[in-house]
């Protein structure tokens, strides 16, 4: 077991190293010269040369990469080229908001997926099951921003109970702050649910055919009890992996949803920084989101291990 956890941990470190490497080299190799980005179109060759010398850009890329990683470890994440504000200062308040948004969406999506999946499995082949599976297919085929705009039209415009724009998460009053989270969170939850629900349904159906379920039925246990105490716990093991896989979708979804609603989180800052070619900020956010994603996968692996005694050898 220790060996397994160590292997997964090594895997996580390799992935993070790869993300940092890809990010750094992609943003430091031609054609996007950081000096030209920082100084703009009208910089003279002399200015570019002076900037390169000042920032140490004349040294080999590999050497700068090592130095960059060292600075990251010390908590020096560089300075925004655009606003000249420290990256840590820019990122810190947004990180908390994005984490709340992501975890909140998962907290809605996972129970919802179980409810829908179990309901559909109990009614396999009936119209309600077919309807749910078509709805899942439908939602799964829609881009996140379409889902976001649909919810916005419904809950912000038709029935105006929620703010149509989420900058209140940063500057709003006590009531506006939580309200600003609702629409982005619902959007993410809605995007994440179909795949998970489909997997829950498949696993519940699979487990239902096992002999121990028949014996529970023959012992005269209540159907609800059989479902939630006997079938669902056994069916949820593979779903843990699915939840981990869904974090990849969550990563993309967060970036898009935040941009749609103007939610002041990491994703919105990332998209703006990509448009502005504010490379230090892009690097920092990609690393942070990438690390969070790797961490979620690691947690899922350990959770599967903890839930399945057969793997603990």
């Amino acid at each position: 077991m220790v060996r397994f956890v160590m292997a997964r941990l090594g895997w996580a470190v390799v992935t993070i190293a790869l993300i940092s490497g890809v990010t750094f080299f992609a943003t430091n190799v031609v054609p996007s010269d950081p000096a030209k980005v920082a100084l703009g179109k009208f910089a003279t060759p002399e200015q570019v040369a002076a900037y390169r010398l000042q920032q140490g850009l004349d040294r080999p890329v590999a050497e700068r990469y090592v130095e960059w990683v060292g600075h990251l470890a010390e908590g020096n994440w560089g300075t925004s080229v655009l606003s000249n504000i420290k990256v840590t200062q820019l990122v810190q308040p947004r990180l908390g908001r994005t984490l709340i948004l992501g975890f909140g969406a998962m907290l809605i999506a996972v129970p919802l997926a179980f409810l829908v999946g179990v309901y559909a499995a109990q009614r396999t082949g009936k119209p309600s099951d077919v309807g749910l599976s078509l709805t899942a297919l439908f939602v799964n085929s829609l881009p996140e921003f379409v889902v976001a705009l649909g919810l916005l039209m419904l809950l912000g415009v038709k029935i105006p109970i929620l703010p149509i724009e989420s900058s209140g998460a940063a500057f709003g009053s006590d009531l506006q702050v939580p309200l600003a989270y609702v629409l982005p969170m619902l959007t993410l939850a809605l995007v994440l649910t179909p795949y998970m629900a489909r997997m829950v349904r498949a696993n519940v159906r699979d487990i239902s055919s096992h002999p121990f379920v028949r014996s529970a039925v023959l012992r005269g246990l209540q159907p609800t009890r059989i479902m939630w105490r006997h079938i669902v716990p056994n069916a949820s093991l593979p779903v843990v992996n699915v939840i981990a896989l869904s974090t990849a979708e969550l990563v993309g979804g967060v970036v898009i949803t935040e941009s749609v609603f103007g939610f002041p989180g990491l994703g919105q800052l990332l998209v703006n920084s990509v448009s502005d070619k504010d490379i230090p900020v892009v690097q920092a956010i990609v690393l942070l989101i990438g690390a969070g994603y790797v961490l979620m996968n690691l947690l899922a692996d350990v959770a599967v291990l903890a839930l399945n005694p057969r793997l603990r050898t």
Binding site: S141, L142, V157, G252, I256, V274, V286, I289, G290, N297
Partner: protein, 298 residues
Amino acid sequence: MSVAETSAAAVGSRQPSRLVGLTSAVVGLAEGRIGVGIVLVFLVMVFFGPALAPYGPTTIGAGLADVGPSTAHWLGTDDLGRDVYSRLLVGASSVVVTPLIATTAAFIVGGLIGLLAGYLGGPFDTVVGRTLDVLLSLPALLVVLVVIAAFGSATEIIVLSVATVYTPRVARVLRGATQGVATREYVLAAQARGERAIPIVLREVLPNIGPTVMVEFAIRLTYAIIFVTTLNFLGLGLHPPFPNWGLMVSESRNTLLINPIATLAPTIAIGAVSVAIGLIADAITRTFGVEQTSALLR
């Protein structure tokens, strides 16, 4: 399919009969019919859209700004008085061309890698498998955003980056499907005839995993359309005044409250196209019973 049809199909040449069989099977299902119907309407828009458009797609002031539907402007006008219906018609091709090229490229490269890895096995397969695992652990949107931040958002860059991100995903699915048929008799027969690896995977393996390939292609194409439209919506990629659907949504979003149809029309159009291709993929899955769980993830 009845017995008579099957034998008739078997008498004819192999390739067309497969396609005919597939088409009739897909259209036989209600969801397949809906999907094919929407895709046909969309194709008409792609090929004849520019000819059918009543106004120029970038003509400012074709009508009053932000007016709802009328006989002159079927879908109203946007905030610059441009005709939404004309923009929708002309913009259709930009929605599908970039994703189609990217998906095709991913299938040519990733498909060949997956076929060879699944067929050859051994150390080559181990190396490819491990590499795929590493590449798949990188979130797609992050990779593409880093590439755009570094190299800009020209269409070539977007095609290349989306193709790169999808290549390992395609390779993994086709590798798995190939492993399933690699030890069948017809493959062994081809090996006994002394054929080389690439002809074997292309002529023996590929036709026999056809349904899996088609489902994966349809699903990948849907996700590529979603991906590229999302990039356009985020302002990365095509630039105004180009009549791209994703751009139209983000441009007219500010006037959502005054004139919702200018935002809703392109939004619904995007949704309809991606859902339609998803429906076709689902219909193929149902007809052939293809495993598609791995492909469901974006």
